[in-house]
Amino acid sequence: MLAKICRFFWFNLFIRPLVFLYLGVNIRRRNLLPRQGPAILVANHNSHLDTMLLMISCPSSLFPVLRPVAAADYFLATKVRAWFSTNVLNIVPIWRNKEDRGENSDPLAPIDQALDEGSAVIFFPEGSRGEPEQMTDFKRGIAILASRHPDVPIVPIFLQGAGRALPKGEGMVVPFLLDMFVGEHLYWGGDEKEFMERLRRRFETLSREGYRPQWE
């Protein structure tokens, strides 16, 4: 009950005004966002705001089953953060280091389970937020996920602006308009290299849609 109340307040009274009024978002092709799970939302990652933006921009029918995949070593690190991540954000925790999860276990297993339960997951294939407003190469985890769930749509979403509004290591959110460009859905095609190349090209096309000023 407490968790539900916190979740409601966090997203409706804090995140929504913060993102939609204080910052402002330009969403292109909102109709391509899935209305129900399972689905894999794939986005580039520069800021904690990315997850928040994706969670409140999706159709309300998706919200109850929408779960961000997050690194357990960070999001479950302290008791308070773990409670918040689990109950308010409803994350799918994954362990990045072998030592933490045991030698032979599969780091993506929790995501498989979530998808099998009908959840839509938010997945950042870069693995970490990295330098603000710079996209790094995607790791192969997304290809493995896709191969295991060939019928689940993969929704590419290009984000920009959040890295300027709240870069890694900063606490203050400065107003910047955010861009969110949704692309055509992708499916696993049978070959990892071909899939990764297709995904990379999809993001390249999306990123060229928007103007991006220099930021140093």
Binding site: P175, P213, W215
Partner: protein, 319 residues
């Protein structure tokens, strides 16, 4: 300063009510014409015009609600325009990560600047941005110690805050001016006079240009702007301003004509200045916030010139 009294005056001022009623009448007529053309045109020819008109309805509804509600509500409305404009500008313009703090202070300056207007503290209102904020920006930038692109970054921040905050806030101080020799030509009436003429001037220049335009004024900046459009628009605006100023401002007839001439000419200048910025950055619209128009800056570009110029003309001649 008493917002309730101001509100009562605004509502009681028949000139303000007439102006707002006329604005809605224009919108109704325009909507009927555009819908007629749209239904006949078929192939999506007027789609953008329909969208633009729909956005105009929302803008006019918000503006008239604010004006009728109270001077406080109007100031909040104008401050919001400054906020959205500055946000658009700083999103488009190149900025430095080291200046994130400075950007935050610029946003913070918006409520402060409008507070001076609310308090009718003219001395502070007129120097706060061009003196204090002007000096504070480089001071704060120096403290971060990053000298790379220092001058360029400082220039960008100054230009942004001068146009979107200082210029636009003149609408706020204009609103607070008391009635002069014309009991109905008070602040709210003059604000409406300025906004209506500035926006009608844009429309008039566009329509005259569409109808007769061939010779380009500034082909490298804005290829659609023609001498025919400019002259037709300025003449239309001057005539309209001369007539309307008699009811809506304390200006004499000849002063009203000069005000109209200025709004026509400098509205054009504000428009092409924002066009030049967009061309410099290689973009078409400043954002997609206002469907059919583009961004806030695409809409208030002319006002960044006409608001301070009209304000100081009135302030010098009548106060």
């Amino acid at each position: 300063m008493n917002f309730d009294v101001a509100a009562a005056e605004a509502v009681a001022n028949p000139v303000v009510l007439w102006a707002l009623a006329s604005l809605f009448l224009i919108l109704v007529v325009a909507t009927i014409i555009v819908n007629y053309l749209h239904s006949r045109g078929g192939s999506g020819e007027f789609d953008e015009v329909v969208q633009r008109l729909r956005t105009w309805w929302i803008i006019v509804l918000l503006l008239s609600s604010a004006i009728l509600l109270s001077s406080g509500a109007s100031l909040v409305f104008f401050a919001l325009i400054s906020f959205l404009g500055l946000k658009e500008f700083l999103t488009l313009a190149p900025t430095r990560r080291a200046d994130r703090d400075v950007l935050f202070y610029l946003y913070l300056a918006i409520p402060v600047q409008y507070l001076w207007a609310a308090l009718e503290w003219y001395g502070m209102f007129i120097i706060f941005v061009p003196v204090y904020l002007f000096l504070f920006v480089p001071l704060r930038m120096v403290l971060s110690g990053n000298t790379k692109n220092f001058l360029k970054a400082a220039g960008i921040l100054h230009w942004g805050v001068m146009t979107t905050v200082f210029s636009i806030s003149h609408l706020g101080f204009l609103l607070m001016l008391p009635a002069g020799r014309n009991p109905h030509g008070d602040g709210p009436a003059m604000v409406l006079f300025l906004i209506i003429l500035t926006q009608l001037n844009d429309v008039a220049q566009y329509l005259w240009g569409k109808a007769l335009g061939s010779r380009r004024v500034v082909p490298n900046v804005s290829p659609n702007k023609t001498w025919e459009g400019l002259v037709g628009g300025v003449v239309t605006t001057t005539l309209l301003a001369t007539v309307l100023s008699h009811w809506m401002t304390p200006l004499l007839l000849w002063q009203g004509a000069i005000a109209g001439l200025g709004i026509g000419l400098f509205g054009f200048v504000g428009d092409v200045c924002v066009s030049a910025v967009k061309r410099d950055l290689g973009i078409k619209d400043t954002s997609q916030m206002l469907p059919g128009h583009g961004g806030i800056l695409d809409r208030v570009d002319s006002l960044t010139y006409t608001a301070p110029l009209f304000f100081h003309f009135v302030y010098y001649t009548c106060y």
